[in-house]
């Protein structure tokens, strides 16, 4: 290619000794485009994932313990509250399983969302490498948090099994679909708000403030069926409620998923996803160069 170029445009390399624009057209066609971009993406995400894992295992060991303890405390707390308020005999489903299958997915969602808000800024030094894009860091982070919660889930299930709770989900595939979809849902909002939050700091503060109200308003620790119809109607505008109802209903045989609206969940996943991708695409260079 080098020889071709010079035989075509003469030997004058440097400041505009050759017909610049004509040569540019020629090079544009001859230059390999993004080289194997899928392979680059996989390699970079894998490297970033392992990097984050090593950092977690080394420096922030307490962080992982908290990851495990937080849902555990919440599960115990809400189970106790439930038994005190309603009496243990009044409900037909297993309270601990109900709380666990609500809390863990909810915290998974919250972690993916909030960690995505910081991920673009956190990895700034790594954009010195032309092969690392901010988006790769975002994907690696979401994978990382998801896999941490997979470990947390297994430990909690084991604990529950040891104290004699029936942990087998009634509809395993349904639960898995629900959780994977919830991860995607968290990622689309994480991407959109992460990109916006890079320019408007207030968004990041607002989202962290929102996490407690969301816990209360997302049907995490109560089934929707127990609410009066008016409250139910309003809560169903919250897309997270649909996810929680779906996971609860799939996990426990005594509950059902009659309030779940798939098309509503789909809209709330796909619209922010595409909006986020579009905004990211427009502002990628601002993450790298500032």
């Amino acid at each position: 290619m080098k020889r071709d170029f010079f035989s075509r445009f003469g030997g004058g390399v440097g400041h505009a000794l050759f017909p610049v624009d004509e040569a540019a057209e020629w090079i544009k066609e001859e230059f390999p485009r993004e080289q194997d971009s899928w392979r680059r993406f996989k390699r970079v995400v894998y490297a970033l994932y392992l990097r984050q894992l090593q950092r977690q295992l080394k420096g922030e060991y307490a962080g992982f313990v908290w990851l495990l303890v937080e849902p555990l405390i919440m599960i115990i707390l809400f189970t106790l509250m439930h038994t005190v308020i309603r009496g243990s005999s009044s409900s037909s489903y297993d309270i601990i399983v109900f709380m666990g299958s609500g809390m863990v997915p909810f915290f998974l969602f919250r972690t993916i969302l909030t960690s995505s808000l910081r991920v673009f800024k956190q990895n700034r030094p790594l954009y010195h490498y032309p092969q690392i894009k901010p988006f790769d860091a975002f994907i690696a982070n979401a994978f990382f948090e998801s896999s941490l919660y997979a470990v947390v889930t297994l430990i909690l299930l084991l604990l529950a099994f040891l104290i004699g709770v029936d942990i087998i989900p009634q509809n395993f595939d349904g639960v898995m679909v629900g959780i994977l979809w919830l991860i995607l849902f968290g990622m689309s909002w994480g991407l959109l708000l992460g990109v916006l939050g890079h320019f408007y700091e207030v968004i990041i503060k607002f989202v962290s403030f929102l996490s407690l109200p969301l816990l209360i308003l997302s049907a995490v620790f109560f089934p929707l069926d127990t609410l009066p119809p008016v409250a139910r109607k309003w809560l169903l505008y919250n897309p997270l409620v649909h996810f929680m109802e779906w996971i609860h209903g799939s996990y426990l045989a005594t509950l059902d998923t009659r309030y779940v609206d798939f098309s509503y969940m789909f809209e709330w996943t796909v619209i922010p996803l595409f909006l986020g991708l579009w905004l990211y695409n427009k502002s990628e260079r601002k993450f790298i160069d500032s």
Binding site: M1, K2, F5, F6, V13, G14, H15, A16, F18, V20, A23, A24, I27, F31, P32, Q35, R39, R43, V44, Y46, A47, L50, R51, Q54, R55, K58, G59, P125, L126, Y127, H128, Y129, P130, Q131, I132, R285, I288, D289
Partner: protein, 220 residues
């Protein structure tokens, strides 16, 4: 091969580094970059490395690239030397086994084999410097961008390795050291008055740069 097309870079409107420059650097040469302080020598490298973006214009290259300034950003203060190096290796080498071998070679060259489990923040500065150059020598890429020196304290062994390494790739070298430039470079670019002047021989580039400097001095 590195190709710059209609490249313009400015920070503020009145601080233009280059305007509308074109440049084609053929594969396999080692190019020295000459210019007054603050004329944009290292900015040019950053632009090619992709960590800074051009105000307008286009940059393209056909293959992988390693920029000397990026090595340190792969090293995380709270990770061990070995872990950080593995991360760096994974960015360039797909196969895990080859990557491990490469990491081993870098550690050996930088005399860090015994201290591989040391946290990066605890590594003394001179060893950090050694590691940077060892990584530059060992990680093979099609393009190599270096600003500043070629070896820690002009160590003979490192200089030899680096010369070999530069022969295997397209190298851009921004250095203020005349001797280094004339010893290691084939060609030269002079940045002057927001334009690039490319010379096939480094000696001619240096001569041009000297005459330009003299000219500027008599002007003022």
């Amino acid at each position: 091969m590195i190709w710059l097309h209609r490249l313009t870079k400015f920070y503020e409107k009145d601080q233009v580094l280059f305007s509308d420059v074109n440049l084609l650097i053929p594969s396999g040469v080692t190019v020295g970059i000459l210019g007054e302080n603050g004329c944009g020598k290292s900015t040019l490298l950053k632009l090619i490395a992709g960590t800074e973006l051009p105000s307008s214009g286009r940059i393209a290259l056909d293959g992988s690239l390693l920029w000397a300034g990026s090595v340190a950003s792969a090293m995380h203060a709270q990770m061990t030397v070995e872990q950080s190096l593995r991360f760096l290796g994974r960015l360039y080498i797909e196969e895990d086994r080859l990557m491990e071998e490469k990491v081993e070679e870098i550690l050996r060259m930088a005399d860090l084999t015994q201290k591989r489990r040391m946290l990066w923040s605890k590594v003394p500065a001179d060893l950090k410097q050694k590691l940077k150059f060892a990584a530059l020598c060992m990680i093979e890429t099609d393009h190599l961008l270096i600003d500043g020196g070629l070896a820690p304290k002009n160590d003979k062994f490192f200089l030899e390795k680096m010369a070999e390494r530069m022969r295997r790739s397209t190298t851009l070298l921004a250095s203020g050291n005349r001797k280094i430039l004339s010893e290691y470079c084939d060609a030269g670019i002079v940045i002057h008055n927001r334009k690039f002047y490319y010379f096939d021989a480094i000696a001619r580039a240096q001569k041009f740069f000297e005459s330009v400097k003299k000219h500027d001095k008599t002007d003022t």
